[in-house]
Symmetry: C2
Subunit: 344 residues, 2 copies
Amino acid sequence: MVQIPEKPASSPAPRPVPTSADVARLAGVSRATVSYVLNNTRAVRISEPTRVRVRQAAEQLGYVPHAAARSLRAGHSRTVVMPAPVFPAGPLYSRFVGELQGALGRLDYTVVQYGGGAGPYGDAAARAWAELRPIAVLVPGPGLGPGGVEVLRRSGARAVVTFGPEAVEGAHALIMDHEAVGHGAARHLHDRGRRRIGVVMPEEPGLETFSLPRLEGVRRALRGTGATLTELPLSYEEESAGRLAARWDTLRLDAVFAYNDEYAMLLSRALQDRGVRIPARTAVVGADDLMLGRLLRPRLSTVRLELPSGRELAALVDRAVRDPGAAPERRVVLGVSVVHRDSS
Amino acid sequence: MVQIPEKPASSPAPRPVPTSADVARLAGVSRATVSYVLNNTRAVRISEPTRVRVRQAAEQLGYVPHAAARSLRAGHSRTVVMPAPVFPAGPLYSRFVGELQGALGRLDYTVVQYGGGAGPYGDAAARAWAELRPIAVLVPGPGLGPGGVEVLRRSGARAVVTFGPEAVEGAHALIMDHEAVGHGAARHLHDRGRRRIGVVMPEEPGLETFSLPRLEGVRRALRGTGATLTELPLSYEEESAGRLAARWDTLRLDAVFAYNDEYAMLLSRALQDRGVRIPARTAVVGADDLMLGRLLRPRLSTVRLELPSGRELAALVDRAVRDPGAAPERRVVLGVSVVHRDSS
DNA sequence: TTGAAAGCGATACCAT
DNA sequence: ATGGTATCGCTTTCAA
């Protein structure tokens, strides 16, 4: 039996992608009819037999409409662009984004997370988003300038919403005031009699977005109280924490706000390993209220953050889209509460 | 002084979005010339003065090209669609995705994360992705069926790549064999003399993707050894862990594979609170090699996972795009190694 | 060196 | 109840 050499696996007849014209041809109707049937256009009555023929043809060809062509024709899309954040996404943020996408999906928007955020978004980034002609753009964190907002609006975006530490000219803003986090932590520590307060500043890139405002919040809370504030650079590794702990005696701090629970856990362990008693000698407060902080001994005091619900933000976006001319709404949305446990 | 009432903020002249025709008009040239200049088309020489005029006009109008129109005309795009995962994204996955996006970006692809994944992707989901006419689709986790792959290919996707526990007919696959994780943990425990082994099964939805294969891996490792395997449902809360710990005596386990480091930490704490000595009475092994596990006392033994580098996957995608007909490549990419510390 | 015009795929108006 | 056709914004041959 003769072996017929098969065509090489490479480049097998790359069948052209079926278009509505193909469907029309196969069903023996016009492209208009195909469109009517597939979009259930109510304004036009199509007989049942025709509908069936069209649907079968579409099915048979594996026809999928072409989003670009559709939105080109329509002059608009329901795409919401959300750039990837410039900061490393934590569990809180991930959950928030998930909720948000779900909520927007239910409002019939298509959410698209765009690109690998490297550094503060320049106007170039804004232009890249604008090319997609999104109906709305949601920008996490800082980095979008007024120029970027202008680019997006000129390109037809009906809503530009930032959610980050500060508002941007011309855009709606959900302001996440991280100063409040530091402020809450510092007040808590001060109220409990601590006067020499350290603030952990993560050395990992991208975190300044949060660490700087948090530091500022601490500073504000302590202003005029006579308490001291010491910045403590720390990177997320055991050695770094070890080095910091090694000079603890020199530092003479009676409290630390550790940026968040993870850094707090890292530092706590290093301190305990060197015999520093928590909270007797030094109080420790984290932030984010992670489950794992509760497991520490002593249980970690923390600042709990309340992000806005995804539904809430989705509603805001929807409102903004419906009334694109409305004055930019800016709302402070970061709820902050100190959870006092045993480490402070 | 008379207050002139301003126009209501709502609906201010919604200026039409500038098109290349507008730029052409303003620059006093044809649309073709605009296209040449803005795309730096080498095949055509345009005089410097004209170039300048065009660029200035574009700048002045805030012109941004229309991606949909462009790719419609071109017949293809460089968009890579990556659906949001069905499982909650952990830090490992986030880092992986970030790397991947960066690497693909450097290869001049535009990565777009699509939608709020709810449940296993049906063929409907595949159709939604196909509407974007992506040049490639990267699907995390399971849930994409052969039907979905077919839809995507018919719509012109030149590469469909899944990275999850198993391969899918017709698509390239980066197989992350989570059985190996459980297998590694169980072998480690068995080697160290443990014979009654518990396996934590998280009750949180979406995690079955990983927990089931990991369990299976444990089972396989233990088969024929006479060691016993006990499934331990656990949800990510202290009470749940407390309840589990309360019946520890009844269970008579001398080891636990705790699904991952977080569950391991949760359970360890609950056990220690009830006086169960680790590892003397019960050994504990996690997975993922989180920093925080190292901070536990005793330090947590763990299974470290080595995800493929983003660059590697990006290269695979690029190859697949260039040779769309090539036979589906399937490669096992999850590196697994046991990190023995003090908890086992 | 520049311009006119065709055409990508889908939709909606206007006829029939 | 259907079909013809102009149109969305852009790229690209072909002519001038």
